[in-house]
Symmetry: C2
Subunit: 527 residues, 2 copies
């Protein structure tokens, strides 16, 4: 398949009823790639949501093992895609093949992680309080609780991770694991990639006997609004801009039945350089940080956009070294023309701000993004200046020098919500660090020590989330096994006979899972 069909997947069948045709563009040249994509009509958006709803009863009734087999099969299909697929992704995103190979492995690994979660069974959240018929003054009935999928989920993928945060990415994997059919709105930046991946998902669905409509794909700009408004949709997963995410939140909140939106949006990911670390390895830090800021052209949600240090000779030296390193960084091609324009716009606002000085980087022009370093007055942080709180997506970062520890604490308290917050510290810095951690815990989903935030491990303990505007709901994570919890809700069964209970709650514990029985966790069967 070198040329995409450009039709949606609705209820397991292809559909391309719309007259509006879209092209995917070569990210390097801006030229249209072969093939056209049909913009979904309102009727197709409705049909996709209905197909997901129709699939829901059958899909959620499947055992966790069956859903795990489906996720495993998607992973296998994804891993089996050949060079033509990798080439397609690279053409659409300007990301290098090695990165795409790595991201593909991460994506299939993520699907397998959720398959493992399904088999481990803790996601069921099984809780049993047995009847106490003799209790005074009133007997207690038998009460059993487990978690069920919330219903069809609309997923909006990100441009910057065309695989891991897209068609078969974390939101899709988490929703499917939870027993929720998905309607995926393809990102305009990698529509051919989305079709390749959707094909893989559909093959896996067929192989493992999933209901038609378990996964649906629609193309088109502006079609997401109708999807989020559709009464069949019960939750939304989104990765992208603050503006786009907030718009979906507002739509979802205004529905007759409001629904939860898990939008991962905007984070500047502060990195705080503590004194002993600066003294011990300032030069090394300058190099590492410049590499982190420009990694993947800075196109990561966790890109360090704010670097804070306490005034000192060591910090001044660091600033010089860091500026020199940033000046050395090469320009890179961004994901698409829109991303580049947005980067240029963000830089222009930083340049125009009287409290911000430009320290390094060649004047932004041409078809590539040029790495940039700025320094802002500490008062901008203390006053909550909007510009300093906004993510500039790309290879740029802003330095801030604070007067002392007290001002550092004030500055951190003024920050908005973040995906990550990083301390760079030597053992001698830990007493100071201990005074900062409570502030960081309030503001961020993930706290790092002596690392860079741009790698997001897919595992049980990961939190890729955080207070607004990093995400729309700090109680969720979009990476790691806890991501499934966003799409589950608890249901309680009172005095139900074994035959009517889900397997997770049956007396014999046929799934062999850990359950909270009368307040004690056990894998025992009930007598």
């Amino acid at each position: 398949m070198n040329q995409p069909l450009g039709h949606h997947y609705i209820g397991g069948a292809r559909s391309g009823a719309g007259d509006t045709l879209l092209h995917s563009l070569d990210a390097m040249t801006g030229e249209p790639l072969p093939g056209v994509f049909h913009q979904a009509t309102a009727a197709e958006v409705d049909a996709a949501a209905r197909a997901a709803e129709a699939a829901y009863p059958a899909f959620r009734a499947l055992s966790a093992e069956r859903r795990a087999e489906f996720l495993d099969a998607i992973a296998t299909e994804l891993d089996a895609l050949g060079e033509a697929f990798i080439a397609t992704v690279c053409r659409e995103t300007a990301l290098p093949p090695a990165r795409i190979q790595g991201e593909r492995a991460r994506t299939s690994g993520q699907l397998r992680l959720f398959a493992g979660v399904l088999r481990r069974g803790d996601f069921h959240g099984a809780r049993i309080d047995r009847a106490l018929p003799q209790r005074q003054p009133l007997p207690r009935p038998d009460l059993r609780q487990c978690q069920l999928g919330i219903g069809p989920v609309a997923v909006f993928g990100a441009s910057n991770f065309p695989l891991a945060f897209s068609t078969a990415g974390g939101d899709t994997a988490a929703a499917l694991a939870a027993g929720c059919p998905v309607v995926f709105k393809a990102h305009s930046g990698h529509m051919a990639t989305s079709e390749w991946v959707a094909d893989a998902i559909l093959r896996a669905a067929t192989q493992t006997g999933m209901p038609a409509g378990v996964f649906n794909l629609i193309f088109g700009s502006g079609v997401g609004e109708g999807l989020v408004r559709h009464p069949a949709i019960q939750a939304v997963g989104f990765t992208g801009s603050l503006k786009g995410g907030r718009a979906l939140c507002d739509l979802a909140a205004a529905r007759k039945q409001p629904i939860p939106v898990f939008a991962e949006m905007s984070s500047i990911n502060p990195v705080i350089l503590l004194p002993a670390a600066l003294a011990a390895r300032g030069e090394q830090l300058a190099g590492e940080l410049a590499a982190s800021v420009t990694l993947g052209c800075g196109q990561f949600c966790t890109n360090p956009g704010l670097v804070i240090g306490i005034r000192s000779a060591a910090f001044s030296t660091f600033v010089e070294r860091f500026a020199a390193r940033m000046a050395d960084q090469a320009a890179q091609t961004m994901l698409n023309a829109g991303t580049l324009a947005s980067y240029a716009h963000g830089l222009a606002r930083l340049h125009a701000h009287p409290g911000i000085r430009h320290l390094a980087g060649q004047s932004q022009q041409g078809n590539q993004a040029r790495p940039q370093l700025f320094q802002a007055d500490a008062r901008l942080l203390l006053e909550g200046d909007e510009l300093l709180q906004e993510e500039v997506f790309g290879p740029a970062t802003v330095l801030v020098e604070v007067a002392d520890l007290a001002q550092l604490q004030q500055a951190l308290a003024s920050l908005q919500g973040q995906l990550t917050a990083t301390l760079i510290a030597e053992p001698e810095d830990l007493a100071v660090a201990a005074q900062l951690v409570p502030l960081l815990e309030r503001n961020a989903g993930r706290l790092l020590l002596n690392g860079y935030p741009t790698g997001v491990e897919v595992c049980d303990a990961m939190v890729h989330g955080g207070p607004y505007p990093a995400t729309s709901d700090a109680r969720g994570t979009s990476v790691g096994s806890l991501a499934i919890a966003r799409f589950l809700r608890p249901v309680c069964y009172q005095n139900y006979p074994d035959a009517l209970l889900p397997d997770a709650l049956k007396n014999a514990n046929p799934l062999g899972i850990a359950r909270l029985v009368d307040g004690v966790t056990t894998r025992e069967a009930l007598g």
Copy 2:
């Protein structure tokens, strides 16, 4: 204390700066009770939210054991309140002393349940993925996750449970357990009761050394809007009407930083009478159901407002018997004049609907609520008629006769979200029941078999929640230990040294809690 001071509690001190004075009314006579309450000024609302915010860092830094001691102390103080307290609650609500004694025991039991949850430690959600320095192609850092309190919580109590869903009720207990200071907006229907309970909470806070501002109380009508809009408030708990709850949701969603609202609002709690049960014990069911509908003057969120049966001679006989029993039920005094007016308004709408017939009950008039039975055409359910989906708060219920199982399934599929759904069944009915359960699971938070929904057990397995409009977020419960999860968010620590980690994540496992370590649950310390 026979006469309340009528001042707010803000940061541990009393405040009554406002000129607008409010009276609590005797629920039986409508006469003002002794004492006046000051309406909170905008400055006082702000001060209360700031006091909660100021208390948050110290409060959430306390060990779970310290917070458990606080909850236990509140329970002890509540249990120690004497006859004058009980008399106050009864005068404000017209609820009988035995009910208030029972509700007090339930409320203190609920506080102790959360103390137990804090000591059990599963709420920490501790997850550890240890470093894999040798992993290829990239090493894995050490990653550890636990749940922290989300921040100050605004709580709005219900009129119908002046203790269990009010000042020291489930939302307050869950928020405090989670490490979140509370600003409680007292319900106008039982302001003196709220002051008694707040006094008890404040005594407990002093005894156990809690920070000032851990619990704040404000009086006043219309002051909730400013509270929900206040930037310090990070989540909202509410029990009350659909209109009131939805208004708070809309306010919270429109904030610059949207926050989650857990509103428990409107449920008609369908009871489905299956054929063999009707045949075996129709007479008994008629009596039980009439008692359930009129229990506590029908003033329960879980009051059965819809009774559905399949057309048959047995159902027709049941309808006659049920109507006779409902006609026998005595009028009762409601919580307040507003509740009675609202009941009368709801009845008038049912009377006026051409598809609804009145089967039993004396014409509603006077100062008490008269129990009423209506029957609606099945098509109203199938067509989603709004009137049939709306809770009429009080001792009234609506019967619906469906033609057959298929129509019953259609009717259940047309229902909005519910707190509860009940099947009344004999063993011969279970095959039919099995076809209904998937529909009920979609619509309700708690599914009962052969019970009545009006008792809500406080335990680990309880779900007092459900899809909209039963609540604003089906993923929460406002009763039972899982209620704490609404006010927690996950935080991940990457490569943090033991000294900077919360106790729940330290290598030695000093709390002795179960933790998910490299995918396996264990209480072992880490090497």
